[in-house]
Amino acid sequence: MKDVSYINRPNRPLFVYAVLFLAFLYVPVLFLPLFSFNDSIYIAFPIENWTLQWYRDMFDNEPMIAALMNSIRVGAVASVLSTFLGVFGAKAVTRYRMPGRDPIVTVIMAPLVIPGIILGVALLILINRVGITPSLYTITLGHVLVCVPFSMATLMTRFEGFDKSMEEASADLGENAWWTFWRVTFPMVFPGLLASVLLCFTISFDEFILAFFLGGTDPTLPLYIWGQLRFPQRLPNVLALGACILVISFIVVFISQWLTHREPDSTRS
């Protein structure tokens, strides 16, 4: 008990609460991978036989592979584009004295709180008015809209984490704004850029509502899964696919968080 201080002594009620909370969060999700190994197409306990068949089937499912590739393409473009926009936005709002900084940040962050369905309907009306055919491109643009706030948030943390006197020092040592960006700012925010790309990619990859409204004939993976749910015998395939997505998403988000919160190699300790 000697190492235990007032603040970190064991607290049983808090521990129970934490366990219940984690269970509430993750148990439902864990049913998905669990039943993906179930031999039967019916979801019911007890599970009698285990199988990897549903995972094997995935590789032969051409429409699914196509949908996966669509999602990857949309995700790749949307994540890079929103990170590109995010880096300049984040630099601007963290570095420059400008009038209306706070309202600007609020407006940029607004898509976080606008319900997806409202955004979806609004964008659908917009592209119909303008006369653009719904396609993977329109989905990508929609995804950029929802990803930019996440990118901004990730990169603003990074920019705030390093002292602007670094950039001043570069200017002082003879480099103009362009070279300062490439020699100081970019290397220092690079982990943040990577984190932003990964985070935006997962958001785009999982996104359903906007894709549903803005999609054309090519489905993204979530749209494909939605379509499959009409066929009960396909459910195990969806479960296997879902389990894979779950695992990969977790890994990507974990890496992204690690990159964001990793101790910046700052001179301050």
Binding site: S165, A169, D172, E175
Partner: protein, 366 residues
Amino acid sequence: MSSKQTFINIDRVSKHFGDVVAVDDVSIDISAGEFFSLLGPSGCGKTTLLRMLAGFESPTSGEIHIDGKAMSEIPPHQRPTNMVFQNYAIFPHLNVAGNIAYGLRKDKLGKVEQTRRVDEALEMMKLEGYGQRKANELSGGQQQRVALARALIKRPKVLLLDEPLGALDKKLREEMQLELRALQESVGITFIFVTHDQEEALTLSDRVAVMARGDVLQMAAPRQLYNRPVNVEVASFIGQMNFFDAQVVDVQGEKVVLDTQGLGQVKVASNGDLLQKDNRLVVALRPEKLSLSLQREVQDHVVRGELATSAYLGDRSHFFVSLDGYDKPVEVAGQESGLSSDRALERGSEVWLSWAEDSLVLLPAP
């Protein structure tokens, strides 16, 4: 100093941030090779002034000339100044050599020459063998040397230093003060040094500008600043000082008589406008200009008091003496030898304070 030519000319410079006046109509001339300090409490405008010299802020009005050239249209990366930042601003993604060589890209020196210059800088800063270290593996003092080397390798005409010793502990700070002064003498360029530490400013500088509220209160050599402050604010900011309210009661030819609160009636030489009859003023006396004795040894410039308390400081002692008609004890600095070894000097003892007439500093009443 006046014999040298003006190298940096700060001409009626003001800087406003919204409604806040950070620097208010400041004019300073600094000669080449001078070690010049801007001294003042935080928020006095000293850092803003330095940042205007570096080009990170532009003056709201006024102009800065360096080496005869107006600076207002010249961005930081084209100015003949280099800066040592308060937190050093060492690039964390580069090693020590990379940091030092950062400013050499445009000089296109070639690998050999660049390495030679970096090694030279490492040697000058006593950092031999540290070239491959990461910035975060260095101590505060080493980081500061890297920052100095990185700035000096550009061979600037002016080195700007923004409280560079503030983050170091006392012992290291004193070492670095000596090194900085030696460095400045060896490279021979103008140093402009911002600090809130009056002792540091006095130790290092050829001249000091004392600033407050965006204004320069006094600009002088350290000795002059210490012995002849121009007002109560400067006098209380630089070192310890006892202040006595006073009024001119009589003018007797060459002499005037002051009635002071605490020191009684004091006769001083008449000079300046302060000494008109009935004028109110402040008489200031440094603790070390007062001497303390147990008997009245002189007739003039002496006053009786009672020892309130004393503080032993090792090499010297400070005595606090209560005087009649004065609300707080007067501080007296004395050598340890002699007086305080005398055990009889207890609280409440009668003591006599005396001073030389020319050590009295007469200041306008605030």
